[in-house]
């Protein structure tokens, strides 16, 4: 324990003087007398005593313990599918995969009884399940007995499963978040103290805790790999960035939301400022190699199983179930070496990307679900819908990808990732409501950057996160997670000084100094009011007869509106910060030869202190239109 028993004076090391409050983050709201400084929002107040000369070796363990406690206490509540036979929920799915992977030969993992929670994540998830299943079987083999353990519900098993989530998170997401926030701080000259505050804000993000530790999933592993990839890109290690990103993709295919932006950024790094062919080849080959490495155990295992004759014979596989394999089947010889390999690969891809399923599942706050409430979409053929959604997704990610490949700057990366992920979330095929964790991740990471804890950024990021967790409420309610939902989201709002716990960001001294536009304030406050009203409605007003899901539909519609604004805001910020506009304006100014006004604007945009400017949605829209034209 780090208890120092040294008497009298502490042995203070000389350290570089960390500024208690930097101007850019507006951490301290200085009094009019300019001597008395007080914390700007409650989370800062918690760190206030530590602002001078407190070692990171003290702060970090304490922070990790506190966030760990909140995670564990969330885990004491219910999980998805508790006592709801016959299919249960995500918890049972994860447990079932541990059962399947530990008991069956590797070649059968993607084939075994697909009706009951067949494996539908890429191989890294399967390996992870295998490892956890092996460890769990050492504790109690009956937890993961083949078939007989289905739907098992035991107190100790729940503790084990919850512990696996936490341990996995502490090995991936949390170190990645710490390193990334440090990296951002170094890059943008943010003090260590502020960086620790941002780290707590990131780690206490309610949506992630509620989904992973309440609902039960392992999203943080994938998100952790994405964060690791981001921090490698920030520190100029594109090769490692690729490796981590491939790992993320091979853990959950949802990481694809980030893929276009990451691809565009890496392409930009290779092409600009000058062509860098060696780097390009390196990135390409390492990406292929990582994919090969991750798929290797599965493919080699299936070869081995075929050799031993334990592989699944083809006759039992319904060819219609796997259209991809049906496509290649006529061209290969069943006796050839490639046959089992192709079978495995196509089956995995087919399981991972279920195009045969509908456009969206359940009630999710994306475009298709919103349009569906007004105009029924299931009357159209699925291939048409697929093409429309593909086109819409491509259009939505186009601005982000173009900007990031033309201006491959490190500080633009989170914005590009956020914009691309929002585009995917809103427009793509087969989106889950849980997927809003993905766009929220790079957005929340921005808190650790320059000015991230300042009034405007905090207002926007806080608003997006509150909206995000609010759209998850119907899902969490089904899992009986209402109490943790209220506690964690209100706690985060309190720590960050957001409505409903505090209006300081929008009304009062702090707000008037920040220079946030009135329209932005009005927009945010309207959304907060609507969310609060919806909660009252949902809790106290009977559902009208004949419309069983009215409240959920309302939630979806409001959510879509908010998420679209988030998307537009991220894209607009990306455009603004990339300097495209200035080039454009500069060009016009040169043409018109009257530069004074624009130069001032340029200065204002370039100076790091007040980089962000008010961006009401209407302006953002016009900005986009400009971009497209």
């Amino acid at each position: 324990m780090a208890v120092s028993s040294t008497p009298h004076k502490l042995r203070k090391k000389k350290k570089e003087a960390s500024q208690p409050a930097t101007s850019s983050n507006e951490m301290a709201s200085s009094d009019s007398k300019a001597i008395v400084q007080s914390p700007a929002f409650p989370l800062v107040a918690f760190f206030w005593p530590a602002r001078k000369n407190t070692s990171q070796w003290v702060i970090l363990p304490l922070v990790l313990m506190v966030v760990g406690l909140f995670r564990w206490c969330t885990g004491l509540w219910g999980y998805s599918g508790f006592q709801t036979p016959p299919m249960h929920g995500d918890y049972e799915a994860q447990r079932h995969w541990m059962e399947v992977t530990t008991h069956l030969p590797i070649s059968q993992w993607y084939f075994y009884d697909l009706e009951y929670w067949g494996l539908d994540y890429p191989p890294l998830t399967a390996y992870h399940s295998w490892l956890l299943g092996k460890i769990g079987s050492m504790v109690n083999p009956s937890w993961f007995a083949l078939d007989s353990s289905r739907g098992i519900e035991q107190q100790l098993l729940k503790v084990y499963m919850r512990a696996t989530v936490i341990v996995s998170e502490y090995l991936t997401y949390i170190p990645a978040a710490i390193i990334l926030s440090r990296r951002l701080a170094q890059l943008r000259g943010v003090s260590k103290w502020e960086s620790s505050i941002a780290l707590v804000a990131i780690l206490m993000q309610p949506a992630t805790i509620l989904i992973d530790h309440g609902h039960f999933q392992y999203n943080t592993i994938m998100l952790g790999f994405v964060l690791a990839s981001m921090s490698c890109m920030l520190s100029d290690h594109p090769i490692w960035a690729c490796t981590f990103f491939v790992a993320a993709l091979c853990y959950k295919q949802m990481a694809l939301y980030f893929a276009p932006a990451i691809f565009a950024y890496l392409l930009g790094v290779c092409l600009l400022p000058r062509l860098h062919i060696g780097r390009f080849i390196g990135i390409a080959s390492i990406t292929l190699l990582s994919f090969a490495l991750i798929f290797a155990p599965q493919l080699l295992g299936s070869l081995y199983d075929t050799h031993r004759g334990t592989s699944q014979p083809l006759s039992t596989i319904d060819r219609h179930v796997n259209p991809l394999f049906a496509l290649v089947l006529p061209y290969i010889d069943p006796q050839s070496l490639f046959y089992p390999l192709l079978l495995q690969l196509t089956q995995t891809i087919h399981r991972v990307f279920p195009f045969v399923r509908g456009l969206f599942e359940g009630k999710v706050a994306n475009m298709w679900c919103a349009i569906h409430t007004i105009h029924k979409l299931h009357t159209y053929p699925i291939p048409l819908l697929q093409r429309v959604s593909l086109f819409a997704t491509l259009m939505s990610i186009l601005p982000a990808c173009m900007i990031i490949s033309l201006f491959p700057q490190k500080e633009l990366l989170p914005w590009a990732l956020a914009s691309s992920a929002w585009g995917f979330f809103l427009c793509s095929f087969q989106v889950h409501e849980k997927s809003d964790l993905l766009p929220l991740l790079p957005l929340t990471i921005l808190l650790a950057g320059d000015g991230g804890l300042g009034v405007e950024m905090r207002a926007w990021i806080g608003w997006a996160n509150m909206l995000g967790v609010w759209t998850l409420f119907p899902l969490l309610k089904r899992d009986e997670l209402r109490v943790p939902y209220y506690v964690l989201s209100l706690l985060w709002a309190y720590l960050m000084g957001l409505p409903p716990t505090s209006l300081d960001l929008y009304i009062g001294k702090q707000a008037s100094k920040s220079g946030m536009r009135l329209s932005t304030k009005a927009l945010h406050l309207t959304f907060y009011a609507v969310m609060a009203a919806w909660h009252l409605l949902e809790a106290f007003v009977e559902m009208p007869k004949g419309k069983p899901d009215l409240w959920v539909v309302l939630n979806v519609l409001i959510g879509v509106a908010g998420f679209s604004i988030c998307y537009l805001w991220c894209t607009w910020q990306l455009i603004l910060r990339s300097g495209v506009m200035e080039e454009w304006f500069g060009f016009r100014a040169q043409m018109q030869a009257k530069g004074t006004e624009q130069k001032e604007e340029k200065k204002a945009l370039l100076s790091p202190g007040n980089g962000t400017r008010a961006t009401p949605p209407r302006e953002a829209k016009s900005g986009k239109r400009q971009k497209k034209s």
């Binding site: 324990m1 208890v3 120092s4 003290v58």
Partner: protein, 419 residues
């Protein structure tokens, strides 16, 4: 829910309701601490805030109240409030009455009553200048107030002739010397010595009481009888408790300042916890909370406080035994210990009198030992022995904690009597 026959009723709503009552009742503690923060001089503002926060966030209260389920937060809120009231001459009577109310809420505070009695007598009923001049006005007010409080509490039972039954429920002398999980006091060390002697006795020629061999507590409630050492009677325990309490009361009688008073309350708590009959480990709060108020007086107090903070909390761990609660209790306690011991270390002023630094090294060693101990008791023991010898981890925990509590008691007594 409130039907008496409905024993073992635990619907989700009931649990929610009961838990939330504990949280609401905790507001009393918050208010008391708020009042406490308001009282001191500006020079010790920071220290007072740190102490108040440490009490409010105390893992002992979390473990006992919010997980195990009791209303200690509320009760100790009243205790702190009465201590705070006793600080000023103008509100000292209110402090006394609050303590009377507290006694009627839970009689465990009888252990602290001597300190209150002497302090009220000296600071309120007798004149400041001479102990032979009685202030009758104050005495009458106090007496009437206390009578009214007790009348209101016990009156109804007395009216229906149930007072005997009430008293026998309150003072269960029929139970054993040690509670099921030995509280970390002198008797725990005594029992531990007895256990050790059980193996050694035949070799050095001591007689072993065969009848006691089969009825040793072994983690069960019941009469504990010792195999080698002499048995202890309730009267003995009382005599020892009273002896140690009287020693510190003498000092209070001649120096009735508020800080000495809080010190006396702490020492009364120590004496009763260490030597009392059938003490429960939860009673450690009786020492911890008054001591917290003094911990930042200077560094000598702090070095006595450190082992108590560790031992007191570790001794509560056996209260929670399910796997799901394990991370909560250990993580939170370790968090609290690191945070507040570091903060206290920064804030405690240098003492005017010299200290013995070697003891600090021992206390550090003591604190470090707690880590392997917790690991052994909660993980290794079950891995090695399975369900056998379940009493061993309990015995280790309480003996370990007893060493810490006794050590801090000696340290605090020295500081108390020398300052």
């Amino acid at each position: 829910m409130l039907k008496i026959e409905n024993l073992g009723y635990d619907s989700w709503q009931t649990i929610c309701f009961q838990r939330s009552t504990v949280i609401v009742a905790d507001l009393a503690l918050a208010y008391a601490l708020y009042r406490y923060v308001q009282t001191p001089p500006a020079s010790s503002q920071k220290a007072t805030h740190a102490v108040a926060t440490s009490i409010l966030l105390s893992p002992a209260l979390l473990i006992i109240d919010h997980i195990h389920f009791q209303y200690n937060g509320f009760l100790y809120g009243i205790l702190v409030l009465s201590l705070v009231c006793a600080r000023k001459q103008s509100t000292i009577l209110v402090g006394g009455l609050l303590f009377a109310i507290l006694l009627c809420l839970k009689h465990i505070y009888l252990y602290l009553a001597p300190a209150y009695f002497v302090y009220l007598l000296r600071a309120c009923c007798l004149s400041q200048k001479s102990i032979f001049r009685i202030r009758f006005g104050n005495s009458v007010k106090l007496g009437l107030g206390i009578l009214a409080v007790f009348g209101a509490a016990f009156g109804p039972f007395w009216y229906w002739d149930q007072i005997d039954q009430v008293l026998s429920q309150l003072f269960p002398f029929s139970r054993g010397l040690c509670h099921a999980y030995w509280a970390p006091n002198v008797w725990a060390m005594y029992s531990f010595t007895d256990r050790v002697l059980l193996f050694v006795a035949p070799k050095i020629g001591l007689g072993v009481d065969q009848s006691a061999l089969n009825s040793v507590t072994r983690g069960l409630v019941g009469d504990s009888s010792f195999a080698v050492l002499p048995n202890v009677s309730p009267k003995t325990t009382f005599a020892i408790t009273l002896l140690f309490q009287t020693l510190c009361l003498m000092k209070l009688f001649f120096q009735p300042t508020w800080e000495i008073f809080v010190g006396t309350v702490t020492l009364c708590g120590y004496a009763s916890f260490l030597f009392g009959w059938h003490v429960h480990e939860k009673a450690i709060l009786l020492v911890l909370i008054p001591f917290s108020l003094l911990a930042l007086k200077d560094r000598r107090f702090l070095s006595a406080f450190r082992p108590l903070a560790v031992a007191g909390h570790v001794s509560l761990f056996p209260l929670l035994f399910t796997a799901a609660e394990f991370p909560v209790k250990t993580l939170y306690t370790i968090f609290w210990l690191i945070l507040f011991l570091l903060v206290f270390d920064r804030l405690a002023p240098v003492s005017s009198q010299p200290r013995v630094f070697v003891l600090d090294r021992f206390s550090l060693l003591y604190i470090t030992v707690s880590i392997p101990l917790i690991i052994y008791c909660s993980l290794l023991h079950e891995l090695v022995f399975g369900k056998k010898y379940e009493f061993i981890p309990l015995m280790f925990t309480s003996s370990y904690s007893a060493v810490g509590v006794v050590g801090s008691w000696i340290g605090f007594s020295v500081v108390y009597f020398t300052s």
